[in-house]
């Protein structure tokens, strides 16, 4: 025998299905909305921030510039005026507010270069670093102390005192040599030819393709 209750239930099957659909669609409207987490997880970001590896000291940077490290990409976060007055050799100007312009992501989101952020001090560079790191960009560094420390240590290194250890003198010698490379003249060196501030050919920055392959069209 046919189950009468089942028959009665089944006669409403389209109504039930329609209601199910409307409830499901209504559920979408009613679901609590939240901002999607973009980029890496907060815990990961925090541990990246704490890690001291994200800093590069002025000495290391000077060394890499002098050795003409091809994988170095310097990004000056100060505004255009100050950038024109003075900047590190071969740096690219990218004011902090323009950091996420379309053409700048090609410089930032790639893994061919070590990107070094710098500004007058740490702060802007740190901000840029955190913003970019959150988006999971690779190989980002911050110049510790920024341009100010660059001046204090490389361009105008403090003369070590007599009672300082030998290392300090050695460091002073390297810094002095480095500063000469960057075009600073010292009275005791005047006779020798001051090397001109070298201008290596501008780097070609390869626009790295987006890692995600965009799906292609249908018909």
């Amino acid at each position: 025998m046919i189950n009468r209750k089942l028959v009665k239930f089944l006669s409403f099957r389209y109504v039930i299905l329609a209601l199910l659909f409307i409830i499901l669609a209504g559920g979408l409207v009613l679901l609590p909305k939240f901002e999607k987490q973009e980029g890496i997880k907060p815990e990961q970001l925090l541990s990246n921030i704490i890690s001291p590896e994200r800093y590069i000291t002025t000495d290391e940077l000077a060394d890499r510039i002098i050795n003409q490290d091809p994988s170095l990409l310097l990004i000056d976060l100060r505004d255009e005026e100050t950038f024109k007055k003075y900047s590190l050799p071969n740096a690219i100007n990218m004011p902090l507010k323009n950091l996420f312009d379309e053409d700048s992501s090609a410089f930032l989101n790639q893994d061919a270069y070590d990107v070094v952020f710098f500004s007058n001090d740490n702060f802007d560079a740190d901000q840029a670093w955190i913003l970019c790191n959150r988006l999971d960009y690779k190989n980002l560094y911050v110049l510790k102390g920024g341009i100010n420390r660059w001046f204090k240590t490389i361009i105008n290194p403090p003369h070590p005192k007599e009672n300082m250890p030998l290392e300090a003198f050695k460091l002073y010698a390297t810094r002095k040599a480095a500063s000469m490379y960057f075009g600073v003249a010292y009275p005791d060196q005047v006779k020798t030819n001051v090397p001109k501030r070298p201008r290596p050919t501008p780097k070609k920055v390869i626009t790295v393709k987006k890692k995600k392959k965009a799906p292609e069209g249908g018909c």
């Binding site: 329609a18 409307i22 669609a25 979408l28 409207v29 999607k36 995600k212 965009a214 799906p215 069209g217």
Partner: protein, 196 residues
């Protein structure tokens, strides 16, 4: 997470095999729903069979709601899916030509392929016709080019062009679809039955 192929979760080499598997299911569903019969398809325009409309709208609703839920739960990123680009006049004119072709020929490309597979001769002729149509378009491309490439609005969605909340849109769309289904059944009861 998803989509899996573009994000390299499934290696690229698999794409052709996946294409065949998806195609098999697509063909099976279309054929089993009766889309290999041109008279069943054409029924939607004369009111004696609304299978096309029902299948079409149910599929659109299920996929829309499903994708939105999957996007919400983080299984798939809606923004990285391929969105059919909007060329306003190309879509309207192309759609209009396709509409006439649909009612004249009684198939659309997907369904004609199903019909070819089960040996319908009219479908084979139809597929040859489509190829001739493509050939004509390609040969006269310079004539069609202004429409084909003009009025480009980008790969936009209704969210961009109407500024509407997608969830509300889907909700209203669902209600509209249910009403259409009911109406369509009422119409079918009044129209003389056609046996095919």
């Amino acid at each position: 997470m998803g989509p899996l192929l573009p994000n390299d979760i499934i290696p690229f080499e698999w794409s052709s095999i996946i294409a065949i598997v998806i195609g098999i299911f697509f063909g099976f569903i279309l054929e089993s729903s009766g889309f290999s019969s041109s008279r069943k398809l054409a029924g939607v325009f004369y009111g004696y069979d609304f299978a096309v409309l029902k299948v079409f709208f149910t599929a659109a609703l299920v996929s829309l709601i499903g994708l939105l839920y999957m996007d919400y739960l983080g299984y798939v990123d809606m923004s990285s899916l391929y969105v059919h680009p909007t060329y306003l006049w190309a879509a309207i004119i192309g759609g209009a030509i396709m509409g006439i072709g649909f009612v004249a020929g009684g198939f659309c490309p997907g369904t004609s392929l199903c019909a070819v597979a089960i040996g319908k001769i009219d479908a084979i002729v139809y597929v040859i016709g489509i190829m001739v149509g493509v050939f004509i378009f390609s040969e006269l491309y310079s004539v069609f080019e202004p429409i084909y490439t003009g009025y480009f609005y980008g790969n936009i969605t209704l969210v961009d062009s109407l500024g509407i909340n997608p969830y509300w849109f889907v909700f209203l769309f669902t209600i509209a679809a249910v009403i259409i289904f009911v109406l369509v059944d009422m119409i079918r009861k009044r129209v003389k039955k056609v046996f095919y």
